[in-house]
Symmetry: D2
Subunit: 443 residues, 4 copies
């Protein structure tokens, strides 16, 4: 039963937060004269000494059989300073102590995740800048649709990550609330000063309702949900890099360190890193599923079920942070094969819509424009050519209203350059995007 | 295959948004001279006429076998105004049209959900105010822990819903981005004015990257995730009301309209409404699960899988909005049995911690305070009394340091009144909470 | 509230089962003299008349505002035959009536799903037979690994579906239990004959414990779980057909009816059908998620939450049955491009492992064999050839122990033919598989 | 990257299976003369020596930085016996090696889970036998509905677990298939004898298709799904024991070792063990969610994503096995308060339906019977009595057709005894159930 119910193997990683929280609490107990100042000082000194031992690795958790990190700290503290250690628990319960530890952890973890999001965004910007003009086919239904800039494609991920960053920021704001002071569930009869503790620990606000404070797991759920979206974005990036690494595509070659090879099949390079990133997204979703169904239908306030909230939380952060780091490394070191991309970018008459648009812009009705374009495509098919192989004479034969402009519009570069609408793939627009992205990162 | 692939039975409910979006688009096409003004006017008139027929129920979707709502509108429009209808699709694709429809729907749906959240919050405030002084046991582990105010308990749900409201607001801000103009995926060669369309349709911003715009489902995912947290909160409220309706509790009696009875067992009142609210939370989670695993690992940009995104979205909003309405009705009409609550609030020596705190405040060490309190409890157990039945003499016999204060602290009302810490259950604190809640609602 | 709590829009599709169950119940009531035989006959006649009207579409559910299908039937029956209709409910409750309806539905639905599984298996066998000798690259990590037979690849899906079939069979066996007779939850005081009803309705057994009978949702959960695995397999098939339809692969061309094209981009064929199959898998998983979290933590026996069990159940069957039908249609009509497959099957020195195996079989240590093979591959790379382009002389120069056998082993056909291990891709083995598969289907 | 991609910390627990599988493989290689017998013997001896060191704890995984358990074994083996170790990998790949390890583990784990299911079933039977006659209210909607035997209630869980046992058995049968021999994905050119290896390792069958063998994760998915149902059942048991432990119920008192108390609130006993069991169900569901979404949409055959399959598998087994053990301990040691149960079993006029049934059996129409019963209940309500307090005269005044039989039917014991239908709560029926359960356990 002890093994079943102990949370120490999981929550021991909260030790720094547990001690930090206790230091702020005991300082306040002294300042409010809830316990004598000398006792507060003794306890604080004991906590700092314990912190040092743990920091220096002189003490570990492997052999401890305490029920949780609080018991561990309490036992060690008592061994050091004696029964006065018990006063640390004045006006506090384990319920709000663990709530505090988790919020302190969560704030750090959210910041760490945001840092990695920013780093991946920076890598995307750098590669987009480097390969600014490279053209590849844009896909719908995994069919080549229209040529686009590689930089435009890479920046698509920038904006996904930008939304991720915002969501994590909003999670941070809601996590930034001091729970300590809810005590068992109803508040305490001691004259505690929650604002003082909040200030000491860097919380923006204190919680408003003690019952809600003890029962609430929203900050875990929304953070893991936000992480599951980060993971979802990375799974899409992973899918694309796996596809692009396939010999059928050949758009990219991952660096050695992010792929595995075969001693006798030199061209076989398995994009293991991004397969793992894609796969690991699933566990983050599993973490959210576990958390959501854990809380469903639980009455207020604390139920022991909630002890199970920490593993999925830690796992989601560990997984997403590592996946972001790996993805960044992959992006930074990947070799893009712009030539191969360019060679297929115009295939499948990918610029046919440009011809139709060209005609429509000249006042020809949509339906007629499509018919004329279809005829041009059929001509190319029958003669095994691409649209840019047709001469102006041939165009004019198809329809007298064609002029030299059509020769530009059917070119891959012309097609790309033409998409000048806001957010479009024309170089000018993508350059603006890139600058906007840089500004956001800098800000 | 048509039945398998048609989305009309699902997306027909987007018809208002589809027409509204087309009106804004065609107005812009005219203004930008992309199509002649008279054509734009003809199309706009045709769209308005169609809107009127649908509004008045003169036209329905049951017999239509179009593939989607766009085809339906296009076919009807063409029947009315002829081939000029085709010009509506200049500089637009179905991919960004459906993206627009969904965002218009989403913004309305988010506001509707927020309105219902606010209404339930208001109901909670009203009942908290009405039963301000009622006392019930606060629970941990479903064991009575310490007495708390019913108003404090009801307000715990206010704060959960407040976070829900904030999350929905943040979802709204990120949904408030015009996607139209991404065209197939790369932007368009026509000189469209996206800002004009955004303004006409009330969008705060336009999207920055056409590929991301077509591929992005974040706004659906984060909205359904936020709804799943609303549902989670309601499932907890449901659980509590089901428990409180059980004869073992008898804390509440749901109104007839929200419960079902038995003709021959008059005391049996099934809290069906809140059981359903609890159960329906599961389907919202199912909606999120479907959406998340739908998008996982999809390459950019549009893949037909994404057509499956609308049913879970609609279902989540329909379910949560209805669950909020039912919950509000239940809260507004429930009869709380304050007498029953009060009668058990002090049971199980729920004020024993108050005695211990009382002693600690008088300078007695924690451990000793606990020992003395334990002795008092045992005395009561042995003589089949409660703590408030002990006389001052009996207290002094237990320990000479007791004085009259203890008699107050062991009373249920004294226990509640004593928890003056910020966010605690003392009436003064709860009154502040109530005012803060009212201010938030008003704001 | 009525709209919120009514289940008629969902459970009306159970009407056949509801009437069938009532017919068996009332026949038994008469036979056991629990109600007079003439009453039983009157009720049975009334039920049959109602069945006829519903069958012929003379009566519908759209305008009805009954709470559920049982109320609908009861009301209609009473209108027809008067108060005697009430006797139908002797020794029966709605709880076990709906449990019966669902089990009757479930048995039919499981059989229907099995039929579709079998049909897809048959299609796979037929196409495997037709293209028995076609060779394509086998992939790991989406990299070409070793050449395999297309028939071998198609049969891989046969075995997945075979396990699906078995699981559905096991679900059927556990669903094949009569619940009727549990009454409200404790059994009934009337001398009912459950075996008689079971026999009349074709159930193999009757349930053993009335409380479990009312509370149990295992048969729904395990069926939807089994369906989620079917859907998972189809999602993998979908992914592969989408990849193979991409111009980068070009291994397959889906029939017109299962893909959508572009009027002006004739080579663009979107594999919409299989994208939808892949996407719809997600909703089946969503159905399971909803069901699982619905039941989690519910006490015995019936709780109204459980009313929410039917929509995910119906949706899972509808979705998977349709997905199987579409997948079968796609497989039956797809055009495989064996030439394209063959042309890339040996690329990337995919037969290099065959050279190494050849050497090991001749007694050369593994490591040395790999070194020699690596040298051969490098020679090919440097001279821009494939392994089969090397002459015997060149092989012997690389290592004197090579003989004519190597020339066969490096050929794609030789590589395939050599993998004679049980379950391997050698034609002889695949032929055995095909026969075994046929036998299983026939049995 | 190594930390990100290494699976050793997870798959090291498969070491026994890895060595056992290698022993069978190398024995076959020797017997088939694929490698010299002396080499096979050397390798086997080296493997056994390594097994011994690991068994005795002379070697651990903590300091190893190998990529996976196979690399670890290979490295250690090579250190011991030199390059001949390399021959172990003849005709085998890591893909089918890990597939083998997992199946060997899975078979053991399934048996272990079944053993624990059986043990919990035995505990339920023992307690049902012990408290055979105890009566408690049966609940629907958490409202008291009809009195039932506690033994009947406990046996409801027996049947849930019986279905669990069957499902695990079916999972076992499908897991009992040798994968080894699929090699990289296509089979091998070496003359391996898969039947021999299957026999040596105790597998019932060998897999039929090498591609399917490498890609298949069904056995993991269906096992974790089956475990999620076990966990779901335990979550319901947990919910009930938590409710019954609440002072409002007071039906049960968990043993000290399975609950936690309060030094100063002696009556507060938190049912932590069963709260944790309820909560841990969520993580098993999370494991299934992770596995399902991991595999969704993956093409054949091996993709590195699949490395992520082991943690959810191990976690699900560990969690469910521990939860079964804890639940058994709780059931074995719980103190049921039969007196408290009995005292509320008849409350709320729970035997009113018995009166109505009594009347119906005497030929009185259902509706009239309900009216008469309703009058009796109202009489009791008005005079603050229970139905069993009414005298025969009072019954006859309500309706002349009452006779002495009614006095028996309104008694709680009479109500229970009357529910003689198959599967009902009458003692005779429950006794039969108990015997059937015993027989199933014995078998």
């Amino acid at each position: 039963m002890l093994r079943f119910s102990s949370s120490l193997p999981v929550d021991c990683r909260l030790w720094r937060y547990d001690i930090r929280g206790s230091l702020a609490h005991v300082e306040m107990l002294g300042a409010q004269s809830i316990i004598p100042t000398e006792d507060a000082n003794t306890i604080a000194a004991g906590l700092r000494e314990l912190e040092g031992r743990l920091e220096r690795g002189e003490l570990g958790f492997a052999e401890a059989d305490d029920e949780d990190i609080h018991s561990f700290v309490e036992r060690e503290l008592t061994q050091k300073i004696g029964p006065v250690a018990g006063k640390l628990h004045t006006a506090r319960s384990r319920n709000d102590q663990i709530a505090l530890d988790v919020r302190l952890y969560l704030k750090d973890a959210l910041r760490a995740a945001q840092t990695e999001v920013r780093a991946l965004q920076a890598a995307l910007i750098a590669r987009a800048d480097e390969h600014f003009d490279a053209i590849l086919p844009g896909y719908t239904h995994l069919q080549r649709a229209q040529p686009v800039l590689l930089s435009h494609h890479l920046l698509a991920y920038f904006w996904m990550l930008q939304r991720d960053f915002e969501r994590l920021e909003e999670c941070f704001a809601r996590a930034d609330v001091l729970p300590l002071g809810a005590a068992a569930l109803a508040g305490t009869t001691f004259p505690i000063d929650r604002q003082r503790v909040a200030k000491a620990l860097g919380f923006a606000r204190v919680s408003r309702n003690s019952l809600d404070t003890v029962a609430d797991r929203d900050h875990l759920l929304e953070s893991v949900s936000a992480l599951s979206l980060v993971a979802l974005h990375l799974s899409r990036l992973g899918e694309e890099l796996v596809l692009w690494s396939a010999p059928e595509w050949g758009f990219v070659r991952l660096a050695d360190r992010f792929s595995t090879g075969s001693s006798i099949m030199p061209q076989k390079r398995n994009p293991d890193s991004m397969e793992l990133v894609r796969g690991k997204a699933a566990r983050v979703f599993g973490d959210f599923s576990a958390l959501w169904s854990l809380v469903k239908g639980l009455p207020l306030t604390y139920n022991r079920d909630l002890q199970e909230d920490k593993e999925p939380l830690f796992d989601a952060f560990d997984t997403v942070i590592a996946s972001l780091q790996i993805s960044r490394g992959v992006i930074e070191t990947a070799t893009f094969n712009a030539e191969k991309m360019r060679s297929v970018a115009g295939g499948g008459f990918a610029t046919a819509t440009d011809v139709a648009d060209y005609l429509v812009r000249r006042g020809i009705p949509f339906r007629e424009a499509h018919e004329i374009t279809g005829a041009a495509v059929r001509l190319c098919e029958n003669t095994n050519r691409e649209l840019w192989d047709l001469t102006l004479e041939e165009w004019k034969e198809l329809d007298a209203r064609f002029d030299e402009g059509v020769l530009e519009s059917v070119k891959v570069e012309g097609s790309v350059a033409g998409r000048q609408s806001e957010g479009g793939t024309a170089p000018q627009r993508v350059r603006e995007q890139l600058e906007e992205a840089r500004t956001l990162l800098a800000g």
